[in-house]
Symmetry: C2
Subunit: 292 residues, 2 copies
DNA sequence: TCCATATGTAAGCTCAACTAACAGGTAAGA
DNA sequence: TCTTACCTGTTAGTTGAGCTTACATATGGA
C-alpha cells in the first residue's frame, strides 16, 4: 500500500463530511468537533494536494470539481469502513456468551445448574468451554472464565465465587477406618485420578502432595475412579458432592477435605467489557453459590 | 455517515498493514512506526470490537476469520484513498501554470511577450487569467499572481517586478500645450477610461484624484479611449507604451507620468508551492523587466 | 438594522499516537 | 545445546496532531 501521497486520515474524514454536507458547521456537528477543526483540516488538505477543494457559496461551502472527485472516493471508502465496523460490533453483540471454565467446575458445578439459568433467561445464549489451560480472555475471545486459584490475575476483574470443596476419599480397607490426619502419608498411595482434574491437582500440590512422586493411574471418567476406589484399589480426589453418598453410607472415608482454603473458584472478566447479558450471568453465578 | 462504531482510523491503518503483511514488524516498517505502535493499535481494535483480530502463528501473526473480514474491507477502502490521493497529486503536478494578472498587465505587458516564453519553454504550459479582482491564490487555484500595489500581501511571497509606467494624456486643445503640473485641476476633466483599468485607477487615487468626483465615461477598449482623446473629447490614463507614438508626434500631451512610484507590479506566489516550472516562469519574468 | 447563522484564523491546550527500553518467545544454524 | 536473529508484548514517558477557544468577518432573512 503506497501511503506516500495520502494526507491525514482525520483531515480526509473532516473534508468528506464538509463536502457531503456542504457546510463546515454541520460537518463539525456530525464529527463532534468545532467548525474551526473542519476548516483547518480542509485548509491542510488543499495545501497537501495543491488544489482548491471547497469554495464559498454565499454562507456555505461547495466542493470544487476536484473536491467532488475526492469526496466521492472518500464517501465510498469511509462508508465501507463504517459498515464493516458496524458489522463486527453487531457480531460481538449478537453472539452467545463464551464462558471458559475448569473441567471439574463445568462437570460438577455448572452443568448441573445451567438448566435453571437457561430456563430463567431463554434469550441469553451461553457457550461453555471446559479447559484445563489458562485461557487469554481477549485473545481467545471469552467473556468470562472460571478459574481455580487464589485470585490474583493481573489485568482482569476477579471475584471469588466459592471454594471447590474437594475431598480425598478411599475405602476403609485401604487406610483403616480410624485414619487420622490430612494428606499424611498419602504419597505412597495409588492415586486414581482423571486427566481433567486440573484444579484438584492444584489443591493437592498446595497441600504438600507431589503427584509426580506418586503412583498415578489416569482414569477416563470420575465414575470409574470412584468405582475402583470403592473396590479398594486406591484413593482419589473429587468434589464433595460426588462422594457424599459413599461417605455417609461408610463405603468411603473422607481422608482430607478442602475447608477454609484460600484456593477457590473465581469469576474472571475483562475490565470494561461486561455486557448486560454477562452481568445477568454473573449475578446468577453469585446466587448459585448460596445454593447447596 | 455513522461514525459511532468506527474506531481510530490510525489503528485501522495499522491493523490493515499488519493483517496484509502477517507481521507487525513489517507493518511497522511500511508505516514508519515501531512494532510497539502496531501492537498497541491492534490491541485497541480488539478491545473496541470485542473480537480477536490477529493470532500467533509461530513467530508471526495471522488474522483471525473476523480479522480477515475487516482487513479485506480496509484494504479496499484504503486502496481507494491512496489511489485518489495519488491522482490529485499527479493532477496538480501535470496541469499548466495558472497565472492571475491585472487586466492591463496582461494586455500590454505580458501578452506581447508571452510568445517568447512559449518559444523558449514549449514544455511549460501557462494559463493566464486577467482579473481586476484580488484573487486568493490558494482558494482560486493560482500558482502566481501579478498584482499592482505596494507589495504588502500577507502570507505570500512578494517580489516587485517593475513600475507600471502609466501616463495621463490629453489633446493640446483640451488643456493647452503649455500645461504645467501633474494631476493639477484634472478633476474637472472628462475621463475616458476602460472598465478594466484597475491598476490605473489605483494610481490615480494614490495621486490624489478622486474619480468618483469626476465625469467618467467608461469605454470598452483602450483604442477607443485614445481615439476620443485625440479628438479632444477628454483625457485618459494608459500605459506609456500605448501612447508613446502620439506623445512623440505632438498629437497628445503627457500631463502626468508614473515615475519613481512605490506602486508597481508585483509577483505573488504561495510559500512552499513553487514548482520547478513556476521557478522557470518567474526567472523569465525577471529577465523581461530588463527589456524595454 | 438586527439577529442568527456561516467561515477564517491564531494562540494555546491535551491526549492519541508514538518511541524507548526491556522482556520473553520462536526458529534456524552451528 | 547454545547462539543468533528475528518476532511480539508491555510499560513508562514524550510530543505534536488534533482540537478548542476566542475573536473577527461575511451572508442572508426578518
Amino acid at each position: 500500500m503506497d501511503w506516500r501521497h495520502v494526507p491525514s486520515l482525520s483531515a480526509l474524514r473532516a473534508f468528506e463530511a464538509a463536502a457531503r454536507l456542504t457546510n463546515y458547521s454541520a460537518a463539525a456537528r456530525e464529527l463532534n468537533v468545532t467548525h474551526a477543526a473542519i476548516a483547518q483540516h480542509v485548509r491542510r488538505l488543499e495545501d497537501h494536494f495543491g488544489l482548491s477543494l471547497m469554495q464559498r457559496d454565499g454562507q456555505t461551502m461547495q466542493p470544487t470539481p476536484e473536491g467532488q472527485r475526492l469526496s466521492r472516493s472518500l464517501s465510498t471508502a469511509f462508508g465501507q469502513i463504517a459498515e464493516i465496523s458496524e458489522d463486527l460490533i453487531a457480531q460481538d453483540t449478537d453472539r452467545p456468551l463464551r464462558i471458559a471454565t475448569t473441567p471439574s467446575f463445568a462437570e460438577y458445578w455448572l452443568m448441573p445448574r445451567i438448566g435453571a439459568f437457561w430456563a430463567a433467561n431463554p434469550e441469553i445464549r451461553v457457550e461453555i468451554a471446559p479447559s484445563g489451560d489458562l485461557v487469554d480472555l481477549r485473545a481467545d475471545g471469552f467473556d468470562l472464565a472460571i478459574r481455580y486459584g487464589r485470585g490474583a490475575w493481573p489485568g482482569l476483574n476477579t471475584e471469588r465465587l466459592e471454594s471447590a470443596g474437594h475431598v480425598v476419599v478411599a475405602a476403609p480397607s485401604v487406610v483403616g477406618s480410624n485414619y487420622v490426619g490430612c494428606m499424611t502419608d498419602l504419597e505412597d498411595q495409588h492415586w486414581l485420578i482423571t486427566g481433567t482434574s486440573t484444579e484438584e491437582r492444584v489443591w493437592l500440590k498446595a497441600n504438600g502432595l507431589d503427584l509426580s512422586k506418586c503412583r498415578v493411574t489416569q482414569m477416563d471418567v470420575t465414575a470409574l475412579s470412584l468405582q475402583a476406589v470403592r473396590a479398594g484399589h486406591g484413593i482419589t480426589i473429587v468434589p464433595r458432592a460426588v462422594a457424599i453418598g459413599d461417605i455417609e453410607n461408610g463405603t468411603l472415608i473422607a481422608l482430607c477435605e478442602e475447608i477454609d482454603s484460600d484456593l477457590g473458584y473465581h469469576i474472571l472478566t475483562r475490565p470494561d467489557r461486561v455486557s448486560p447479558q454477562l452481568k445477568t450471568f454473573i449475578a446468577w453465578l453469585r446466587k448459585q453459590r448460596e445454593t447447596p
